[in-house]
Symmetry: C2
């Protein structure tokens, strides 16, 4: 495939402008085709510029991929969290949040997340960025759980654990959806995931007394 441009030299931009335009193109490309599609030539073609210029602005694809990943998922997280209705029944709002996270419309971001976990095993810069963004999700969810518990909308429990469990569940289900392994409708999944997380986050609901050896060690 040839470059989108007609062979003419691209418009001269300030370094900041060009950097921004490159990032824009890369973000769009990753959204459409995943992180694997982020090649020097593909981004160059998208932006309408020579591959050499991409390499000039972004020496080292590893950190470039990490940056693009971070920008995409951070923007999405802020959007989702911002849309979280802070008013009304928080349990209802939580359910809608989970439904949103499981929505098929977000398959593009899901692919990016799953590719990031896989690539992160061999790309330290990306792995670091993935951890950072996951920390962002973890603390955002933890905050929501703590708020809901304080408001009495859900049973009080360990908000951090609930956040970890919910993240794992949502990420696992989304990963499964990439190969179209969706056993039942997602609204039902969301409801069950939420109650699973909320119930387990309340230690009192767990019958520990009946299991003598198991429940004793509780390191934290």
């Amino acid at each position: 495939m040839k470059t989108t441009s007609t062979g003419a030299t691209a418009r001269r931009m300030s370094p900041e402008e060009r950097d921004h335009s490159i990032l824009e193109g890369a973000i769009g490309l990753a959204r459409e085709s995943g992180l694997e599609a982020l090649t020097v030539r593909a981004v160059a073609s998208r932006v309408g510029v020579t591959p050499a210029l991409i390499a000039h602005y972004r020496p080292g694809m590893d950190t470039f991929v990490a940056d693009v990943f971070g920008l995409i998922v951070a923007a999405e997280r802020e959007e989702v969290i911002a849309a979280f209705g802070a008013t009304g029944d928080l349990r209802e709002a939580l359910l809608r949040l989970i439904e949103t996270l499981l929505d098929a419309d977000r398959d593009d971001v899901t692919l990016i997340w799953v590719q990031a976990w896989a690539l992160g095993a061999r790309n330290d810069a990306l792995a670091a960025r993935v951890r950072q963004e996951m920390d962002g999700w973890q603390s955002a969810l933890e905050q929501i759980f703590a708020r809901a518990a304080a408001a009495g909308d859900i049973a009080a429990g360990r908000a951090d654990t609930a956040a970890w469990l919910l993240l794992a569940m949502v990420d696992g289900m989304n990963a499964h959806s990439l190969v179209k392994w969706a056993p039942r409708d997602r609204a039902d999944l969301a409801r069950r995931a939420l109650s699973a997380v909320l119930d387990s986050a309340a230690p009192a609901a767990i019958p520990v007394d009946s299991r003598p050896a198991d429940s004793r060690p509780e390191p934290t």
Copy 2:
């Protein structure tokens, strides 16, 4: 890099032998370096033959990757399920099963799974195989849950839902571990994941008013 062989022609084998040796090499390679490492040349070097021979026995890398994936994860599943102690307290056994699945020793298989979900988005043969192996896990877990419920070791609940939730949680946590995002010790995670799944699978444990639609037949 050069082929492992000293340039001498490889020993002549029967088609079945050679096919087996190629699969063996590919399986070992994938276990060590993931599915992305499965290139014609890498497998050829590993097996000690020419790339052309690999291409001859396995025309089309897509189905080859799918086969290797299937063999690896099917073997692992059978091993894990077989090690599941059918005697004694089934809840205890379930906990050990989850601990096994979350064990860091299985990071190699985890990488393969996560790569499979990512690659499956663009490799239909692989995606089909992934679905097949996930069905295997789903039914194995469902069977275990049903058995445990019948034995009275856990609260009776919908075994299929419990299996789905557990699979999602375990897969999500393992994906997270690929980038070393492990908030707490895995034994604790396993315990909480198990109680989350078991509690939610027992309808009686869920606040009744919040699930009127539950008793209605679920759409496929």
